[in-house]
């Protein structure tokens, strides 16, 4: 093993010297799923391609797909750093500790970790306020459900996903006081067969709207097969399932951020920062609300989108109680970013426990 790592190190060092002529900056991307997942990783890869397009020969990009969260990812990041990457984007929550560990070993390499909260001198974090998009989905879901049962496929019980569930629930409840949420934790970001099974289980139990926080389009296909079930595109537009079952979507738009950060490395102005942008800054896009949505609901949803974008309305505005009935936000109070970033509780009305 040690011989192997020495050899790979040597090969990488050779590659570094010969490759130095090629580009000014080398940018690495670590992906949790395949680039063809049609969702999360697909959009990150679109961001990578945008970087290539924007900088041309000045920047070279490398990526590794389907990297498991955990020890394996540390190996991949180390490999990229040894290959001479100057900037490495690690694009899943589970890469948080590995990113911090590897960054400590390579102080001259800049790291950017998506959706996490741990930073250091050479580790930035960035994320998008997906919960703003969830608010819009919740509203449409509440208006469109006939059975008053909304199914939600969660991936892992992390703040990012819990925020989405809470935001969707609050706004579905406002639109329709009778809604109930059924939540399935899939414990995977990407497993089409399992996602399809989860969607089927929810549909068989009467849910007629499915929200997903997993990365593939399998739940869309399951809903289409079932007939009268509404879905929303997750991370990517998933427009191929529109206008029905997919009635709208959250689109992650990473390209401007990736270009800006690569530019910062080129200019030598890169510093460790925390970015958390929403609809207003364009990091979260709302996919076209399709013709399957009644016109008045569509207008309400668009008004909500614009209010969120302008900052005039916050998706978590009191009064909101926690699940146990204790007060979280008083009338008119809005949630602070610290609480949102570490959100580990359901709001009042949601049933079941968050797996710990």
């Amino acid at each position: 093993m040690s011989l192997k790592s020495i050899l790979t190190g040597a090969v990488a060092a050779l590659g570094l010297t010969t490759g130095a002529y090629a580009a000014d900056v080398k940018v690495g991307f670590v992906y949790v799923g395949p680039v063809g997942d049609g969702g999360w990783t697909y959009e990150h890869n679109k961001g990578r391609l945008a970087v290539e397009e924007h900088f041309g020969d000045k920047v070279e990009t490398i990526f590794q797909e389907s990297v498991p969260e955990g020890a394996d990812s540390e190996r991949v990041m180390t490999q990229m750093a040894l290959q001479g990457a100057d900037l490495i984007f690690t694009t899943s929550f589970g890469y948080m500790d590995p990113t911090i560990n590897v960054a400590a070993k390579f102080p001259n390499v800049k790291f950017e970790h998506a959706t996490g909260y741990k930073r250091s001198d050479n580790v930035s974090t960035y994320s998008a306020r997906f919960y703003e998009g969830r608010a819009i989905q919740g509203h449409i879901a509440g208006k469109m459900t006939k059975t008053n049962k909304i199914g939600y496929i969660g991936s892992f019980p992390i703040p990012e996903v819990i925020r989405g569930i809470n935001s969707a629930y609050i706004h579905a409840k406002k639109a329709n006081p009778n809604v109930e949420f059924s939540i399935i934790w899939a414990y995977t970001w990407f497993d089409p067969a399992k996602e399809a099974d989860a969607a089927k289980a929810l549909i068989e139990q009467g849910a007629d709207v499915i929200l997903q926080h997993t990365d593939s389009t399998a739940p869309q296909a399951a809903a289409e097969k079932a007939g009268n079930v509404v879905t929303f595109g997750q991370a990517s537009d998933m427009a191929e399932y529109g206008p029905f079952p997919r009635v709208s979507s959250i689109i992650d738009n990473w390209a401007p951020y990736y270009i800006a950060r690569t530019q910062a490395v080129l200019d030598g102005t890169w510093t460790s920062i925390d970015t958390w942008d929403g609809i207003g800054a364009g990091m979260v896009g709302i996919g076209e609300i399709s013709s399957a949505v009644p016109a008045d609901v569509k207008a309400e949803a668009e008004a909500l989108r614009d209010a969120l974008a302008s900052g005039e309305y916050h998706a978590f505005t009191g009064p909101i109680n926690k699940q146990d009935g204790s007060v979280w936000l008083a009338e008119g109070e809005t949630a602070d970013d610290g609480t949102l970033a570490g959100m580990n509780f359901y709001v009042e009305g949601l049933t079941g426990d968050i797996p710990q």
């Binding site: 099974d197 289980a201 593939s216 389009t217």
Partner: protein
């Protein structure tokens, strides 16, 4: 908690769908292993079947042709495994793992232009009379043809191994290839045919995922089903009907745990999620504790006529 929201009819119907891919792959692998060959490339052959089935299904508009093409493609892929292990005497474990990696890469390459596309899927066939029986009819007799085919295949494999002369010869090759060779049986040829059958079955299993269960193509979509199929072969002690039992048990627990979650049962989700794997492991331990489980004696050993 609201258990009444779980509809047992739909539950059993979906567990049959969920179990079919692993059952097809496992029954194929049973024949391969009965012939004394350990092919760990099931995952790779399944995903190849998934992509080829999907591509052909889309281009011809006929899912049935898709299944056929998937079986042929995976059988061809398995020939490479057969050639390496039977003629060049390469290590079966390493070659099988290699086959998995090749299959995953190859399928990603073939499938690239087909991401996000939708294929026509198989329509359920309601078996006349039988499907009119209340409850049981909808549960068992209103599936797509591949579900019935997989059950018939299990029965056919069972009858083949138990009653046919060819089945006896196949088992002889798997138990003691030298003795079988001494009796004049073509060990290598028989093993090659078994490997191709296993490949074809894995291909059908994979195509079932991409054409019926999901139905769409995404890279890496089999997500470990091939490994489960391998575990089920051991679980079943190489006995065809137990393959059916094992696959339905695994599929059943998988579907049930999702349904229990959706119904809000107060069991921690972690336990529910691990339950399909946990139950498989527990049963495997029990079976091992019973002693000889009927593993073919020559399993995994290379054969050459000179030895």
């Amino acid at each position: 908690m609201d258990l009444s929201s779980i509809n047992p009819v739909l539950l059993i119907a979906s567990l049959m769908v969920s179990a079919t891919p692993i059952m097809l792959a496992a029954i194929g692998e049973t024949i391969v292993e009965k012939a004394g060959v350990l092919n760990l490339g099931v995952e790779g052959m399944m995903i190849t079947g998934a992509v080829v089935g999907f591509v052909v299904g889309i281009n011809t508009g006929s899912p049935m042709l898709g299944f056929l093409a998937a079986a042929v493609a995976s059988a061809i892929l398995s020939i490479s495994f057969g050639f390496l292990t039977l003629y060049l005497l390469s290590n079966q474990v390493a070659t099988g793992l290699g086959l998995t990696l090749v299959g995953l890469g190859l399928s990603a390459l073939i499938g690239k232009p087909y991401e996000g596309m939708k294929s026509t899927t198989l329509d359920p066939i309601e078996i006349p009379i039988l499907s009119d029986i209340p409850i049981v009819g909808k549960m068992l007799f209103a599936h797509d043809p591949m579900v019935y085919f997989s059950i018939i295949l299990v029965g056919a494999v069972w009858a083949f191994l138990k009653y046919s002369r060819a089945g006896l010869v196949l088992r002889a090759v798997g138990e003691n290839h030298n003795a079988a060779h001494a009796l004049g049986y073509k060990v290598v040829r028989i093993r090659m045919l078994a490997i191709m059958f296993g490949g074809a079955c894995s291909g059908l299993g994979g195509a079932y995922i991409s054409l019926v269960r999901v139905p769409q193509w995404t890279e890496g979509m089999t997500a470990g089903a091939g490994w489960i199929a391998l575990a089920i072969v051991v679980f079943a002690s190489w006995k065809p009907w137990r393959i059916l039992l094992g696959a339905y048990l695994f599929g059943g627990v998988t579907v049930l745990q999702l349904n229990l979650q959706a119904a809000g049962v107060a069991i921690p989700v972690e336990y529910l999620s691990m339950s399909p794997y946990l139950i498989t492991i527990i049963v495997l331990v029990f079976i091992s504790a019973l002693g000889n489980q009927g593993a073919p004696a020559s399993l995994g050993r290379s054969f050459h006529a000179s030895t």
